[in-house]
Amino acid sequence: MDLKLSLEELQFRDELRAWLGANLPRDWGEWREKPIEESFSYLRAWQRKLHEGRWAAVSWPKEYGGRSATLTQQAIFWEEMAQVEAPPMANTLGLGLIGPTIIAHGTEAQKKRFIPKILSAEEIWCQGFSEPNAGSDLASLQTEARLDGDHYVVNGQKVWTSFGWVGDWCELVVRTDPNAPKHKGLTVLLIDMRSPGVEVRPLRQMTGESEFNEMFFHDVRVPAENVLGAVNDGWNVAVSTLMYERGSFGARLHPLFKRNISRLIELSRKFHKNGHAAAQDPLSRQKLAQCYAEIEIMRLNQLRAFSRITATGAPGPEGSIQKIFWSELNQRLQQIAQEMFGAYGQLLGGDSHAVDKGIWSYGYLRTRGNTIEAGTSEVQRSIIGHFVLGLPKSY
């Protein structure tokens, strides 16, 4: 047990700080309020710059353009990025989930073909997992791929695809053996989104935006060399992607949560409750303190999980704790904000009276999705029950 940064960790942090000092764009403030469709090329350019400094994917092995950063260094990376309010990178899924999956399961040829362009944001990736009839029960998905010579022919529909509208490539889970048990007949294909027969439609969500897409595949031909991992072993490949999703996301979110609670504490001096500033109202103080404490515990859980991953080599089902913890905590945080703002909480970004240009009313609605996306809280609890506690499978 030693939570002080090691010499190497300090060097890593200082090198990053120096790089950010010289390279952080100064005009992000003018872009951040714009719709992502408008700012996307800006984000691409920022990622390219990070890549030139070898900062785009610090967790990746050195030979693939990363820094082989330890989990602690990754946590430092996200914290530093949040502290200087750096713009996000364009290829979120490629860098965070799909790149690592290709590095773990891909052939040498696939790694050479795909990895450099993920890093440089030349090719944006999306993830085709969920279907209208396969959400929590992902393994029951029906999009099928039939072998025809040296190509697979894909037919089906995917839903809840982030970055589908801008995706150049997609990690797609398909059924290649309809007769095998549901987990054994799946394969992961890497699909060029410009292939004939791919259609992408926006999916409008409760916040009013279209972060996600629906994707339709009509007789899309995919070269057999684009199978990732083994044919009919797609479940294992997909699960490793999901583990990356659940395992480390908390480390990226923590600095943002911390910023939100700090802002809320600031605002508690301005908003009034029961005749005095919320900062002086006993009940508001209790709620702010509870939230502050839970955000700190989220950080500590993450650090402990990192130490376990370092010891065992891979993210495990304990990542489900993090997923439940951050998603439900984020909803509680937004609720506390709403209670503090009273009637002002409902005002949207366009309203001149909105608090912080509407980020809180947006956050209140957007966080409803947190306990659903990347595996519902119910699925996460079943994963803990079965895979961590050893209870019989309930589904």
């Binding site: 939570l3 940064l5 090691s6 900062a279 103080r285 404490a293 402990r304 609890r381 506690l389 019989p392």
Partner: protein, 367 residues
């Protein structure tokens, strides 16, 4: 950075678990809780032989000199066994206060015998108002004598001396001093007895001022939270085991999501409490600027979580969980006592608010 146990820390934790399981199994714990003081001299000398009575104190006084983080591991295992008797009162509480406020002479006189396992002791702090805020202490010594009452004093009847916190300092009172009356309070937790202590012109010896008291209280508070983690862990394991073996509708009840998800939440609450407690132990050991916040976070979270984990565990056990013969209620009773001791969750949330809302002492991050 490494948020995990070193080999020697693993060893300490494993051997403590083995020791408590061997020397104080459930049957022995139940035998002791039925006695007046829950104290057993033979068990105490075994605890002493392990070095536990001097675990965090300097070798100069016969201690072992381990850190506060190690104390958390030891207390976690003591909590898992629901260790009855005055270990917490004597070593963790009285020992920490003596170390924090006493002179070397006082430590030779009072702390060294604690380390050697020769005496039992406790701290009298709370008064009729039941407040853990040092500002609410009313008792005051005049001319070396004390008059008044202290409430909720743990293990007072078995203590050889009491450390008393008064407005004008910290004092030691011999248990045989004149004018001292110790009366039992009948409380839920049978394994750690509570008393009202009355002083009537009782002679006391001043050992120091209250200035250094908060740190000692923080150590005891974190240690109590660690003990709660051990109790939660035991409750979780017993509940998961029960959910695997108990069958209804032809299936183990742990197969039903309504039951399984309770267990998952127990796991989340237990692990989150553990993260908070381990960090508090580390922050205390390192004198980190956010140590007080870390202690309050740990106590606040563990106080609420221990009650919730207990509720869930009893519910999953069904009728069995409601019986006297099942140990769950004994952990549940301890959880209630520990929830209020050293400030409940509400108390610590207000303390956190003072630190982070009023003063803006944020976490040390990567210190």
């Amino acid at each position: 950075m490494e948020f995990g146990l070193s080999e020697s820390q693993e060893f300490l934790k494993d051997s403590a678990r083995e020791f408590f399981a061997g020397e104080c199994p459930s049957a022995e714990m139940r035998r002791l809780m039925e006695t007046d003081t829950a104290y057993d001299a033979a068990l105490w000398s075994k605890i002493t032989e392990q070095g536990y009575t001097g675990v965090i104190f300097p070798e100069a006084y016969g201690g072992v000199g381990l850190g506060k983080f190690e104390l958390m591991l030891l207390m976690e295992e003591a909590g898992r066994a629901l260790l009855p008797g005055p270990f917490f009162s004597t070593v963790v509480l009285a020992g920490s206060v003596l170390e924090a406020v006493g002179s070397p002479a006082h430590q030779n006189k009072y702390l060294a015998p604690i380390c050697r396992g020769e005496v039992r002791a406790t701290v009298a702090f709370v008064e009729a108002g039941a407040s853990w805020n040092p500002r609410d202490v009313q008792l005051s010594a005049t001319n070396g004598k004390l008059t008044g009452e202290k409430f909720f004093v743990t293990d007072a009847a078995i203590a050889d001396f009491l450390v008393v916190v008064a407005r004008n300092g910290v004092f030691v009172v011999d248990s045989k001093a004149r004018g001292l009356k110790i009366s039992p309070m009948s409380a839920m937790d049978l394994t750690r007895k509570l008393y009202v202590v009355e002083f009537k012109n009782t002679p006391v010896e001043k050992i120091g001022s209250g200035t250094d008291l908060p740190r000692a209280l923080d150590i005891a508070t974190a240690a109590l939270a660690a003990e709660l983690v051990g109790g939660m862990q035991r409750t979780l394991e017993a509940t998961v085991e029960y959910a695997k073996t108990r069958k209804q509708f032809g299936k183990p009840i742990g197969m039903f999501q309504a039951v399984q998800h309770q267990c998952a939440d127990m796991y989340l609450e237990t692990e989150s409490s553990r993260s908070a407690v381990y960090y508090a132990g580390w922050a205390l050991e390192e004198n980190s600027p956010d140590a007080a916040t870390a202690v309050s976070i740990a106590k606040m979270y563990a106080s609420d979580a221990a009650r919730t984990v207990g509720n869930r565990g009893i519910q999953v056990h069904g009728g069995m969980g409601f019986t006297w013969e099942n140990d769950l209620h004994l952990y549940y009773r301890r959880a209630k006592a520990s929830e209020t001791a050293f400030g409940d969750a509400t108390f610590h949330r207000e303390r956190i608010a003072r630190l982070v809302v009023d003063e803006g002492v944020v976490s040390a991050k990567h210190a």
